[in-house]
């Protein structure tokens, strides 16, 4: 499964678990408006670390702040290289 699909699947899963309604997942979706709160994102990063083997936010030398879903996916795609 691609990194992008893994991320989207996990976002949907966490939204279900946390009883949140997720906005349609598009490249330009602003993360702050996606429907997950900070705890939801914390769980997402932890789950992705288990599935993709990397937490690009904690391991990056420079702080990265993705704004959109597309940027978030790119951070992971870079992290895996």
């Amino acid at each position: 499964m691609s990194i992008k699909l893994t991320i989207m699947e996990q976002m949907e899963q966490i939204a279900r678990e946390h009883g949140k309604i997720l906005a349609p997942l598009k490249e330009d979706l602003v993360l702050a408006d996606c429907g997950l709160d900070s705890l939801g994102f914390a769980v997402l990063v932890a789950r992705l670390e288990d599935r993709l083997g990397v937490d690009p936010f904690s391991s990056a030398e420079e702080a990265v702040f993705p704004v959109t879903l597309g940027e978030f996916v790119k951070v992971y795609e870079h992290g895996r290289r």
Partner: protein
């Protein structure tokens, strides 16, 4: 009990029947042989009035030497089996040690230079020398700190004997066992009671597998058995060895006894008294709970029961007890102005009971919300497929930390990674957590592991 700290254990074991013994893998020794025998060669007078480091490798020789040193030495400094040798010199200096009891397994160490060294042997020889008059003896125990030089706390036979308010052994017929080492506080709650009460004591040998230890406990017909909840959970996995023992009294201490482990023990030992005790090296034993329920009745707090008073300050249990240690060595105060020891254990009050939430120092901070790992473990352990679990914080860029869990399943073997059964089981455990816990306490990830590390203290190893 004014004179108990000078009591002679020799005089007590002299009255025991011939069946009352210390039993390890290699030897069975009748306690009353020490009434007019010695395990210390011709060196008994040389230890009179000394501050003696008990540094034997085996539990059996320690068990023998303690009988001889009580009332003879001014002070016994009890070295736990896994003591860090780099701290030996500091311990010796702090406790004014001038002699050491060793056995053939004790490794040589520079810190022993200048001490009177006495070898202890399980071969009992006739005691030729006249014994000097009994003196009060301090029992110094090392606390199980994780880093730095261990602290020493001072007990005596009186505070240690007061440590068990549980069923009393009948002379000769009872066989006590413990998963603890008797050189730790958990084991030292058992040792004086067995020796003074006339019960045999089954000791584990160095490096002995749990299943082999259980087989010996079964062979000797153990009637009273104690350990930490983690040690009991591990023992419950030892099928069929666990099925061969039938203790009348099962005791848990040293960690939080959750409802799941109490229920598992009830299922395994239908007729036994199953009690969990609250005890710490510093505070002594505060109480025993024998009703099979986790936590303790709320009316234990605010009254004096069995010489123990308890209060809750800032959510933390404080205890004042006649069984408390006398002091830290080095003069550091052990108690507050009213004589209470701060246990560092946090409790929560719901219904008619207090429940242990966890250690004050073990709190995980999830986005500013405090989480006790023990509370989540208790929920996971309630799942019918789970034997034990460890909840820890994992670093997280969003909330600082997030909760993750390692889980050991009941039964044998691991389930295949990513199999439908494994995914369904994880989902089911998470469902239980979601139904019971607020969102920030639900583990973000669950890993199934074959075993969890249990320290020599019998407690689950938690990352610091």
């Amino acid at each position: 009990m004014a004179d108990v700290d000078a009591a002679s254990l020799r005089a007590i074991v002299a009255r025991h029947g011939p069946a009352v013994s210390f039993l390890d893998r290699d030897a069975a020794l009748c306690m009353r042989e020490l009434a007019c025998g010695t395990s210390l060669g011709g060196c008994v007078p040389a230890l009179a009035g000394r501050s003696v480091l008990l540094a034997t490798a085996s539990q059996l020789t320690s068990a023998l030497a303690l009988i001889e040193l009580q009332g003879l030495a001014r002070r016994i400094v009890i070295l736990p089996p896994d003591a860090d040798p780099t701290h030996l010199a500091a311990v010796i200096a702090a406790a004014g040690v001038d002699a050491a009891v060793i056995d053939e397994g004790t490794p040589a160490h520079r810190a022993f230079d200048g001490l009177a060294l006495v070898a202890c042997s399980p071969l009992i020889a006739p005691l030729i020398d006249a014994l000097p008059p009994s003196v009060p003896t301090e029992w110094m125990m090392l606390t199980s700190g994780t880093t730095g030089v261990p602290k020493m706390v001072r007990h005596d036979l009186g505070t240690l004997r007061s440590a068990l308010v549980a069923p009393s052994p009948a002379d000769g017929a009872d066989v006590w066992g413990t998963f603890y080492d008797i050189r730790r506080y958990g084991g030292l709650q058992i040792y004086p009671r067995a020796v003074c009460g006339g019960a045999s004591l089954v000791l584990s040998s160095a490096g002995e597998a749990i299943a082999d230890h259980l087989a010996r406990l079964a062979a000797h017909g153990v009637t009273h058995l104690s350990g930490t909840p983690s040690q009991w959970r591990r023992a419950l996995m030892m099928v069929p060895a666990i099925e061969a023992i039938a203790p009348r009294y099962v005791r848990l201490s040293g960690e939080i006894a959750d409802q799941a482990v109490l229920d598992s023990l009830r299922a395994a030992f239908a007729d036994a008294i199953i009690g969990h005790a609250y005890a710490s090296t510093e505070a002594g034993v505060a109480f025993d709970v024998n009703d099979g329920l986790a936590g303790f009745p709320a009316d234990y707090v605010g009254v004096v029961r069995n010489g123990v008073a308890m209060k809750i300050v800032d959510g933390t249990l404080r205890i004042r007890s006649s069984g408390a240690a006398k002091a830290y060595v080095g003069g550091e105060p052990l108690v507050d102005d009213a004589g209470f020891v701060d246990t560092g254990d946090m409790v929560e009050w719901y219904g008619e009971r207090f429940h242990f939430a966890g250690r004050r120092g073990g709190i995980i901070n999830v986005g500013g919300l405090k989480v006790h790992p023990e509370e989540i473990e208790a929920v996971i352990n309630r799942h019918p497929s789970v034997r034990m679990s460890l909840v820890q914080g994992r670093q997280n860029p969003v909330t600082g930390s997030i909760v993750v869990a390692d889980v050991v399943l009941k039964g044998e073997g691991l389930i295949a990674e990513k199999s439908p059964h494994q995914i369904a089981l994880k989902d089911d455990i998470l469902k239980l957590c979601r139904e019971t816990l607020p969102r920030h306490k639900v583990p973000a990830a669950i890993s199934f592991v074959p075993a969890l590390k249990v320290a020599a203290t019998g407690k689950l190893v938690r990352r610091q």
